[in-house]
């Protein structure tokens, strides 16, 4: 503290601080001008939301009707239960864990109820409640989630091809007893799939026999599409759609929660061939895709059983667009049909992420914008140029990096080859530790300057990463049998080891830090108020935080409103965020692999900002204890007053090629700012600029607080209003109040 400042009274300190801190900031009356500039903005509720952005109608009435029945929870509420444990039904004594689970899957295939709806064009239903609750039925095991299995590979091979691979591997020999047992368990899973297929076919035959007219024709077309698949490779688009769903639905029935992956890549060539041969029209193909999408909603209505985090979090992610292993753009007719279906049916249950690059087709960007504008944040965007670079710099071969999908949230991985686990931690806790605020006996520190404080924070950050690195030593071996998942994962057959037994080609333990924005904002507040403006000492600041800023509301407002914050394109705040980010990614990159486990770093909170609140005190940035802090790599709620372009600028100032675990930013845009043709162009430009500036992953959500508040008060009026935050999307009405409040509290970015 300088002598000159020492002689000033606290009162004058405040005054000097206000001028110095506030002087560089243009205080803007954001809302007022927004009101004036966007006529009608505030009066726009959901009632005329649809009028402003009307949904097109391309699908048949029957398909639309089936969609609304499924979305209403009709099928989800009818889920059944196989109460018995497999051990009470079959003698499992002496069986390996893998064989026990395979035996259960065989039992499930033979006994789970079948559900075939007369309007359905795609067959196969995962009808067990345990599965919808992230459990393997009959087994007392949690589901495998956070992965995307190799559906593309298995679709082309068919179960027959997989069976031959297993037999070939067994014949070749060299496997230990455990390996032989696993492969036999995998083969039992294939047999089980065959049993389920046989039952479904028989039921369809029966239904077709006992019906007539359109209904009979529908059953017959489903029968025709299902007859040869998934045992054999599909010979048509219709077979391919049916096969992919049957593969996917079976792992769901068996309680596994994989993502789906690059559906346009998997199905595009079949459609192209059939279109060229005149075997199908685009309208017919769209109907089939719609029925696939409706299938993805058949667990709707089971939300209550799964706690408060919503019914759409089944990790059934879809990736669209982007380049393939050879560098060619994948985007094809299927890409557009998927967007058509999502736009029309508002189904958010398959969260979609589109892979963008600087050469992405203009038509694709436009269609994404049109779908985004309906709200719900169903479509998010990767900048694949940055993601692929981050993955190759981390060590993945280029062709595999180019095939990236995600784990069902948005952390990227190589599908069908990766066992993925991530370990999250709250970066803000590390700052609290350095500040002695964690109540663990550490004396209140007295750092003489900001650099000493920052150094202590950095040391704590490093200790956290060191601790997380040790997680690799205990990385899954012999844990959690999952033979069906192993069947869909390369190199499990070759190695004779399971998904959780180091059988996968890649074993990944990603370190994910959350709270970068909060740490940056707090560090900057301390730097300015304590060390630069010397309005108060560090000890005084810490006392205020311990007492939750009690009696210091004015100082709190000063910290909140007159110190720059991350997310406003402010050079000082962004530089602080970058410094924290660079230290985290730089130190994490020192251990890329340990014990054969890959260690990519990412930035995320995935909704943990809720549970982390309990451990967070009031912040130097002016937050009270218990406030929602920033999600993922987004600005802290209420701190981003400069709008979405500023948020993107701040976020994109990070070097994301350093972040193989990636990190996402959420943009909320008011419907008024994206209405009309100008709105489409604005959204398109936002996406293009996000790619150009080197962003990584962005959710653009068109949503309006008034609508959310109304949905909270009158859930019956907005049953299908969906929101997407923190890597998942959910129907708003299915969230409990705490989650709803958090969604509402997040900043509105109004024109």
């Amino acid at each position: 503290m300088s002598d000159e400042n020492n002689n000033l009274s606290r009162r004058e300190f405040l005054k000097a601080g206000a001028a110095a801190v506030g002087g560089g900031m243009l205080v803007m009356n954001g809302v007022g001008a927004a009101e004036a500039k966007s006529p009608g903005a505030k009066s726009m509720g959901l009632a005329n939301f649809d009028a402003v952005f009307p949904s097109p109608s391309r699908l048949s009435a029957a398909t639309r009707s089936l969609a609304s029945r499924s979305l209403s929870g009709e099928f989800g509420r009818a889920l059944a239960s196989l109460d018995a444990r497999i051990d009470d039904v079959v003698d499992t004594k002496g069986m390996s864990g893998e064989m026990r689970v395979a035996t259960a899957i065989r039992h499930i295939a033979a006994n789970a109820p079948l559900r075939i709806h007369p309007l359905e064009r795609v067959a196969g239903s995962a009808t067990l409640r345990e599965a919808s609750m992230h459990r393997v039925p009959m087994c007392d095991l949690y589901s495998v989630s956070h992965t995307t299995l190799g559906f593309g590979r298995v679709l082309k091979l068919g179960y027959g091809g997989l069976r031959r691979q297993i037999d070939e591997r067994l014949a070749r020999g060299g496997l230990d007893e455990k390996g032989v047992d696993l492969l036999k368990a995998m083969r039992l899973c294939i047999d089980a799939a065959g049993v389920w297929h046989g039952r479904t076919m028989a039921r369809l035959e029966e239904l077709a026999r006992d019906s007539s007219g359109d209904e009979q024709a529908c059953y017959r077309s489903v029968l025709a599409n299902l007859r040869n698949v998934p045992e054999n490779p599909p010979t048509s688009f219709a077979e391919a759609v049916q096969s992919l769903w049957f593969l996917y639905a079976f792992q769901r029935l068996a309680g596994q929660w994989s993502g789906i992956g690059r559906i346009d890549q998997m199905l595009g060539d079949y459609l192209k061939k059939d279109l060229a041969a005149g075997k199908i029209t685009l309208d017919e193909a769209r109907e089939l895709i719609a029925h696939f999408w409706i299938k993805g909603t058949e667990w709707c209505g089971e939300a209550a059983a799964f706690g408060g985090s919503g019914d759409a979090q089944y990790y059934q992610n879809i990736i669209l667009g982007g380049i393939d292993a050879s560098g060619r753009e994948v985007t094809n007719d299927v890409t557009y049909l998927v967007l058509d279906v999502v736009e029309e049916l508002h189904i958010s249950d398959f969260p979609i992420a589109v892979r963008l690059n600087r050469r992405s087709p203009e038509k694709l960007l436009r269609r994404i914008a049109e779908v985004q504008r309906h709200g719900g944040g169903i479509v998010a965007c990767y900048n694949e140029e940055v993601v692929i670079k981050a993955l190759t710099e981390f060590g993945y071969p280029l062709d595999e990096a180019r095939e990236f999908t995600n784990d069902g949230c948005w952390e990227v991985l190589v599908p069908g080859k990766t066992t993925f686990i991530y370990s999250p931690f709250d970066l803000y806790q590390r700052l609290q530790q350095a500040l002695g605020l964690n109540g663990d006996g550490v004396q209140t520190p007295d750092y003489s300057d900001f650099e000493s404080l920052y150094g202590a924070f950095r040391a704590n950050l490093r200790a956290a990463i060191d601790e997380h690195n040790k997680g690799a030593d205990g990385y899954a071996t012999n844990a959690h049998p999952a033979p069906l998942v192993s069947l869909f994962t390369e190199d499990c057959i070759e190695r004779g080891r399971g998904y959780y037994d180091r059988g996968s080609h890649y074993s990944v333990l990603a370190t994910h830090a959350g709270g970068v924005g909060d740490v940056a904002n707090s560090l900057l507040a301390i730097k300015k108020l304590v060390y630069e403006e010397k309005l108060l000492t560090l000890a005084e600041m810490l006392d205020m935080l311990k007492s939750n800023w009690q009696g210091q509301e004015n100082l709190r407002k000063l910290a909140q409103n007159r110190v720059p914050k991350y997310g406003n394109d402010d050079p000082e705040a962004d530089a602080m965020a970058r410094r924290v980010y660079d230290d985290f990614t730089g130190y994490a990159a020192q251990v890329k692999e340990r014990n054969g486990v890959w260690r990519p770093a990412g930035i995320s909170t995935f909704g943990r900002e809720i549970e982390w609140r309990a451990g967070r005190k009031a912040t130097p940035a002016g937050n009270l204890q218990g406030e929602y802090l920033s999600t993922n790599f987004s600005p802290a709620p209420g701190t981003d007053s400069e709008g979405p372009t500023a948020v993107l600028k701040s976020y994109c100032s990070m070097d994301f090629t350093r972040l193989p675990g990636i990190g996402t930013v959420e943009l909320k845009v008011h419907p008024a700012s994206v209405k009309g043709e100008a709105g489409i162009r604005a959204l398109t430009a936002l996406m293009k600029t996000f790619v150009k500036l080197g962003g990584c992953f962005v959710h653009i959500d068109v949503v309006d607080t008034a609508m959310l508040l109304d949905a909270q008060r009158h859930p019956e009026k907005h049953p299908n209003l969906s929101v997407r935050i923190a890597g998942w999307s959910a129907r708003f009405a299915t969230l409990n109040k705490e989650w709803q409040d958090m969604v509402i509290n997040r900043t509105q970015q109004v024109v």
Partner: protein
């Protein structure tokens, strides 16, 4: 370097001219529209907005106010506007945003520096800077310098104007402006005078001169129930449009009475009852009627 008074700068504006734009609101307007959307930008002096529900009654404003306009009784803040001379000392001390200064002196270079920040977005969207107000041309040197600096920096420039003022102002701006968003408040002489306090003729004359000088324009018309939301006005707008050589079309905007929320914060009493909001279907039928007069392409929907 010219400087002037800015009441607000907003980024990611998507309906103030083409593309993603940064809209700069200059403070002060020669018109006095009773229904003004932005009443805080009417005055040419910095003003004080008071938002009572943000106040935490900390009392700092009491200490710093030389006029004793602020007081605290029973932990409640009272603000006597009659004593306030808008010195704005209190706004500096108020960290809650309850007392807020509207209108800050900036140089043209500072304004353009803010606009620079979103250049990447302009490039992808065909956007740029939009000068609005208040009436930007009412700070002629400041406006001219902003426009010429932006233009020289390769940033597209739109200017939203009521068109009132000496013709030279608009003619000198024209070479630096890509598009004039010309706010045509009314086409009826008497009503224009009654509701804006200004005569219509010079506004139309300025418009025609800018047009003849090659300036590209869009007519922006706020439709206000019980004021100008009638067939006669729409006929008048169509006639003006047809008289111009370089007018890109007519953009209709729906009036809303939200400006009233700011009147209270400004401590201004609403002397004349505000019209009701223009309903979406009224806007649609007006646009359809106008299309019948000037053709499909004559009505711009952004």
């Amino acid at each position: 370097m010219a400087s002037g008074l800015v009441s607000d700068i907003q980024r990611f504006c998507t309906h103030d001219g083409p593309g993603i734009r940064t809209t700069v609101f200059l403070k002060g307007c020669p018109l006095d529209c009773f229904w003004c959307h932005n009443p805080e930008s009417k005055s040419f002096a910095p003003g004080l907005l008071y938002t009572a529900h943000l106040c935490i009654a900390c009392g700092y404003c009491v200490e710093c106010c030389p006029e004793h306009a602020h007081s605290i009784f029973n932990d409640e803040h009272h603000f006597d506007r009659t004593r306030c001379r808008e010195c704005l000392a209190c706004a500096d001390e108020c960290y809650t945003g309850a007392l807020e200064q509207v209108g800050r002196e900036m140089t043209a270079a500072q304004v353009v520096a803010v606009a620079e920040k979103d250049r990447a977005f302009y490039e992808e969207s065909g956007g740029g800077l939009t000068l609005s107000g208040g009436e930007p041309a009412a700070q002629p040197e400041f406006a001219l310098e902003i426009c010429s600096l932006a233009k020289a920096a390769g940033i597209s420039v739109c200017i939203e104007t009521c068109g009132f003022g000496p013709a030279e102002r608009f003619l000198s701006l024209a070479p630096h402006v890509d598009l004039f968003l010309w706010d045509l408040k009314d086409t009826d002489e008497a009503r224009h005078l009654a509701s804006t306090g200004a005569v219509l003729a010079p506004i139309l004359e300025n418009l025609r001169r800018v047009d003849r000088a090659g300036g590209t324009t869009v007519l922006r018309c706020v439709l206000i129930p019980d004021v100008n939301l009638n067939q006669q006005h729409l006929d008048g707008v169509a006639a003006v449009f047809r008289s111009l050589a370089n007018c890109g079309g007519i953009e209709l905007l729906a009036y809303h009475p939200l400006g009233a929320s700011k009147l209270e914060r400004l401590g201004i009493e609403c002397t004349r009852p505000l019209p009701a909001a223009c309903a979406p279907d009224e806007l649609v039928s007006a646009a359809n009627y106008l299309r019948g007069l000037v053709g499909e392409s004559g009505v711009i929907e952004r």
